[in-house]
């Protein structure tokens, strides 16, 4: 893969650049900003202040600065989605490659496993497991990751099935290239597009899942996440109150939406840039 031609193809995609910029901002905010912004805890003096210069996103029912909560929430989101993606990648991609390439017995066993996992009702199961293993943020991330791999494995398997039939795979076998290299280079490089897109999707949906769990009270109560902020706003009745402290629930919601959209845009742009045929 030529780094320069990939970069130049990527640079032509404006939406992709927007996505990349968004992802970069979230990463930067999540990783660096907590050094400068104090961790919001205890009580503040100014309760439910609307956005102003001192509190750009306003304050919540305890008088804590919502911007700080969002920033610390971004760190949680990145942490959760990174672990979920790593897990899904480590399980899903090899499972999909092996089941797509070797068919036969190992293939159908893995395929059945994927089917079983895909038919399981994920949210109730995550709730049960999160309740059993306890609500640490790492547990939540691992549980989300364990339920994210089947969709990735399915995408990988379908793409692998298609590519394995291609003549260049037979040519590679004929040329004496090792099976491991064929799987993890020749096939993986061709199906990298759909896999990367699926990974960015998992990056996005795992944050949604985490927000959902936190909103249900199954998140880590001692860690700020966007879902936790919305839950606290909901518990305080802020979402239906009049006059409505819109800043309390609006900013975390918009953060989740932006996070999901940016990762999806990035995924699509990567897919386009990886395909040499779409380059000029």
């Amino acid at each position: 893969m030529n780094q320069r031609s990939f970069a130049s193809a990527f640079r032509k995609n404006r939406l992709g650049l927007v996505g990349l910029a968004g992802v970069a901002i979230f990463l930067l905010v999540g990783l660096i900003a907590p050094i400068f912004v104090p961790y919001p805890k205890g009580y503040g003096t100014e309760i439910m202040v609307s956005p102003s210069l001192t509190h750009i996103f306003g304050t919540d029912g305890l008088g804590l600065d919502i911007l700080s909560e969002i920033i610390w929430g971004a760190r949680t989101s990145i942490y959760v989605s990174s672990i979920a993606v790593l897990l899904a990648f480590a399980i899903g991609v090899p499972a999909g490659l092996v089941s797509g390439y070797f068919r036969g017995v190992p293939g159908s066993i893995i395929d059945t496993l994927i089917d079983v996992f895909l038919t399981l009702p994920v949210l109730p199961l995550i709730i049960v497991i999160a309740a059993v293993v306890g609500s640490s943020i790492t547990n939540v991330a691992v549980v989300i990751g364990l339920f994210s791999w089947p969709s990735l494995a399915r995408v990988t398997r379908n793409a692998t099935l298609r590519v394995t039939e291609m003549q260049f795979i037979e040519a590679a076998r004929c040329l004496g290239i090792k099976q491991r290299v064929i799987l993890f280079k020749h096939i993986l490089i061709v199906i990298a597009g759909p896999i990367l897109v699926n990974l960015t999707l998992i990056m996005a949906t795992s944050v949604l899942s985490e927000a959902g769990l936190s909103f249900l009270g199954l998140g880590d109560p001692s860690t700020w996440s966007w879902g936790t902020i919305i839950k606290k706003a909901w518990d305080a009745g802020a979402i239906i109150d009049t006059p409505n402290p819109y800043w309390w629930w609006f900013t975390p919601s918009i953060s989740i939406i932006l996070y999901v959209v940016c990762f999806n845009l990035l995924g699509n742009a990567i897919n386009d840039a990886l395909n040499p045929k779409s380059r000029d």
Binding site: Q167, F168, A171, C174, I177, I189, V190, L274
Partner: protein, 327 residues
């Protein structure tokens, strides 16, 4: 060389491959008779042409020869060594000596791998040589050998035409310095004007590198042009095998006669009578009993539907599978 004649360079005996096309768990297997009891020998430096309609088992035969699929029966001996009973370590040396050029130049190159890497990888994988700069020099040499410039190494396959890609496929196969090359329909996906260029390249390379070819095509004029011996296949079986001149002068099998009569004749004065075969090649799932060609044969008699003829010699190096050709 004459002392070596007793041991052919490549010898196939009774090669048979049946595919089960029914994948339902409890249903009866449905067998496709892709290749049935095919035997032939190729001497070093020769070209054997294999000709037949699509569905006659030519490509399956090629894959059997290269050990890409396992046969149900039969053996292939390459330089006296049985290919199907050899150890893994021996198999890797044999990989370097036998290679294949594929049918579809658009599908036989990985679209995401650059030309240079595609050619260099098998050289590295088979430990033909090592050292980055040495391999790079070898890649450049191979590209020039097939008539391309060395700097195409930095491009992707989609930047090339079909003919250029086929040259790249040839360079890749030659990277491991094989002595024996199986060419499976290598020109059928190309424009007629490009076909002759590629065929000339094959002839040139054979001369230069002392290669032995098996050339597979459905196009009899291509096969006639390149071959020393010709094997005619029909529905998975060899029906006739002979040196090229002998085959064109005395075609013995009705199917061979029909194929030869269908070759376009450039000389208008020669009034050739075309034999038009009726119908399609029957399904390989249930090949006709008796002679497999009997359902389309213009000479068929009643007994042809019952008796299955064996390959029999009718002259020097000339074998045919037909009850009447034997006279």
């Amino acid at each position: 060389m004459s002392t070596k004649q007793e041991q052919p360079f490549l010898e196939a005996k009774g090669l048979t491959k049946h595919f089960n096309v029914s994948h339902k768990l409890f249903s009866k297997p449905v067998w496709i008779h892709a290749v049935d009891d095919v035997s032939f020998a190729v001497q070093r430096g020769e070209t054997l042409g294999i000709v037949g309609e699509s569905g006659s088992g030519k490509s399956t035969l090629a894959r059997l020869l290269l050990n890409l699929i396992e046969p149900n029966a039969g053996s292939v001996r390459f330089k006296g060594v049985d290919l199907f009973s050899m150890t893994k370590s021996k198999e890797s040396t044999f990989r370097r000596e036998m290679q294949m050029v594929f049918q579809d130049p658009y599908a036989s190159l990985n679209p995401r791998i650059k030309i240079g890497e595609a050619i260099a990888e098998p050289i590295r994988a088979n430990r033909v040589m090592d050292g980055k700069s040495r391999i790079e020099a070898r890649v450049a040499e191979l590209l020039e050998m097939v008539g391309l410039s060395a700097d195409v190494a930095h491009s992707y396959p989609h930047e090339f035409s079909g003919g250029q890609r086929q040259r790249i496929g040839i360079a890749r196969a030659l990277g491991v310095s094989p002595e024996f090359l199986v060419c499976d329909e290598v020109v059928s996906a190309l424009d007629v004007s490009i076909q002759s260029q590629i065929l000339n390249l094959f002839a040139e390379l054979k001369e230069k590198l002392g290669l032995t070819y098996i050339f597979i095509s459905h196009d009899f004029s291509v096969i006639r042009h390149v071959s020393d011996h010709i094997l005619v296949m029909y529905l998975g079986e060899a029906v006739e095998i002979a040196p090229v001149d002998e085959l064109f002068q005395n075609p013995a099998h009705p199917y061979t006669r029909a194929l030869i009569s269908a070759i376009p004749e450039p000389d208008l004065d020669v009034a050739s009578e075309k034999i038009i075969l009726e119908g399609d090649i029957p399904s390989a799932e249930a090949p006709p009993r008796g002679c497999r060609f009997s359902t389309r044969c213009y000479m068929a008699r009643e007994e042809c539907g019952i008796r299955h003829a064996e390959m029999a010699s009718i002259g020097e190096n000339h074998l045919v599978r037909c009850s009447f050709a034997l006279g």
